[in-house]
Symmetry: C2
Subunit: 367 residues, 2 copies
């Protein structure tokens, strides 16, 4: 019997933890009291099993629970349901990790390009990649395309839409995507450097499929998707069936405080096919710690069912001045995303060049 090993962090008095752990095992599998499980095969093969219980602090325990792989039915939505469907509503329970059987991971598939694929597409080795964002929303497609051209001429590797850009009246998707893609192509011919433009796809499945078609028709080289926002099952199906290009995942609506970020943003987004994953960097305007960011980067780049590494993309409150520190911290296989702080510069082109130069000059301990 193959099982998914989930780890739940549970707040409970020591005298209660065995009972609470057993209750979570029932909640996340058969969802009835054990007395209502009348079939021996269900008790043996479907009911989740409590494994190791370790005390992390006073009244705080890490409980390993083995969820039967068969309950996941090989499906993304159902896997998440079994991992944290009802227990996401339990205030005393946090999902902190999960280890998947190889067969289930293989159905997910992981990144199609990953770090190596992105480097090959951009022709960049031996330094972190650079990324800048097109914003503020409210600008017209032509204005965003102009910004795009400036960043591309400044030598940025990846230029992404703000995740707030969808299909609004002031910059409809089809027009914006076409204009920005033409802008990076022109800049690339001028500079001789490759650059990827990643438009943001936001919407319900039908709109997403239509936009993926535009991505293909316009020869766009990358896309930005927020799995928690559009739905993780949709994200996975879109990546597998409608997109060939690398996928940059955004944490919007991930509310990642109840599912541990290294699991949700690191492992799960990667397993579903993200090639590069944005998350809030430490010391920025989000409350992620240095240790958490280290764990996130490890989850994205470490061994995982033989899947390609995904590229960590720290973002949020980043500045050109912090580049030396960040290249030391993350090493070479990262993409530094500087958003608003590039955009406040008076000479945008010059500031983009400074960013690019700082990254090239960084110490890359893992070269």
């Amino acid at each position: 019997m193959s099982r998914i090993e989930a780890v739940y962090r549970i707040r409970a008095p020591r005298a209660e933890i065995a009972r609470v752990a057993h209750a979570i095992a029932l909640e996340q599998s058969v969802e009835v009291p054990m007395e209502a499980v009348r079939e021996a095969s269900v008790a043996a093969e479907v009911v989740a099993r409590v494994g190791a219980v370790t005390e992390r602090a006073s009244d705080l325990f890490d409980v390993h629970i083995g969820l039967a792989e068969v309950t996941a039915g090989g499906d993304v939505a159902q896997t998440i349901n079994m991992l944290f469907g009802n227990s996401s509503l339990h205030a005393h329970v946090e999902l902190v990790d999960a280890t998947f059987p190889d067969a289930l991971a293989a159905r997910f598939g992981g990144p199609r390009h990953g770090v190596a694929g992105l480097r090959a597409l951009l022709g960049v080795n031996g330094r972190p990649l650079t990324c800048a964002a097109l914003k503020p929303q409210g600008l017209a497609g032509a204005q965003l395309a102009e910004l795009c051209a400036t960043f591309a001429r400044g030598g940025i590797d990846v230029i992404k839409d703000d995740h707030g850009l969808a299909d609004q009246s002031y910059s409809p998707f089809a027009e914006r995507a076409r204009l920005c893609q033409r802008a990076v192509e022109r800049a690339s011919r001028e500079t001789g450097r490759r650059v990827l433009y990643a438009p943001s796809l936001v919407g319900a499945p039908k709109a997403l499929v239509e936009r993926a078609k535009i991505v293909r028709e316009e020869g766009i080289g990358m896309v930005l998707l927020a799995p928690a926002l559009i739905g993780m099952p949709v994200f996975h199906e879109l990546v597998r069936e409608h997109l060939d290009v690398p996928v940059l995942a955004h944490p919007a609506y991930a509310g990642a405080t109840r599912v541990a970020p290294p699991l949700l943003l690191g492992k799960i987004f990667r397993m579903l096919g993200a090639d590069a994953i944005i998350y809030p960097n430490y010391g920025g305007r989000f409350s992620y710690s240095e240790a958490l960011c280290r764990d996130l980067a490890d989850a994205m780049r470490g061994p995982l069912h033989g899947m390609p590494a995904a590229l960590p993309v720290p973002a949020g409150g980043m500045t050109v001045e912090r580049v030396p520190e960040l290249t030391r911290f993350y090493g070479r296989d990262a993409m530094l995303l500087i958003g608003g702080s590039l955009l406040v510069a008076d000479d945008l082109l010059q500031r983009a060049r400074e960013f690019v130069t700082a990254v090239a000059a960084g110490e890359h301990h893992d070269d």
Copy 2:
């Protein structure tokens, strides 16, 4: 300029709250420092606006922020993005309420059947509805159908799949749905009472559309969907374009502690088209309080853009013994869902009848 009025509950020292509120307004609209907003029209029409700030407790404030409707682009995913995309990652911020312009709410559409439609379909007035769940998962389709027949003969109004039933090897969707539907049809002919079977649809968009087709072909009368699990934009599109029958929403993976449950489970699920909405009842195995359950029921049944009321479906740790208390608490327009505690009874049919009788005998103050 039409705006969505969002209310964020923010933990911050009093001396800091004005600055923090302004930062959230930027985060949830243009996502750049104000200095990077160079267009006057963007500053006037796109940047979110801080409204009333009220202190709820020491260092805890409710901050009203007006989000420009135009940034939502009339789209479900993008509306959620603007409400709580990045700020869901802020540990000090909770989204507690939102009020939508009528035009945007009209695009969402709300319940197609609602309380009145469900009552008409079932021919039940003057008492709460009853609901039971098919579980544990691991049983074969034929075993679940037998359980279904017993509940239907016992007089239950709505019989739903456990939300853990998807398309697993031990009870594939198509077979299970057909067998259960035939079972309720046979029981209905025997008893002369109407009864709705609601299978659980879990999966990525393509699978969901296929299963919705089966629902239609088999003449199935209702469906169970978990909007947070399959993705809210998918939920909305599925309801609008692929389903005619009433929709019962399940809170799986709603992790509803960071978005206030009355907003997410009450208002948003209802606006997207849920006709009846399951949530954890007070005094059960989840930590929802009596006051929170009152707020949830109010959000589902109260006035909302002229939309039909949705049916509150308290569940989780419910028992037949609690029925008098629950009918007093919720009144007539509710559906009581008893899951595991019905299933532990030795005589299931008898226990189902006791449930039905207790509901019929309840005091319904709002009759």
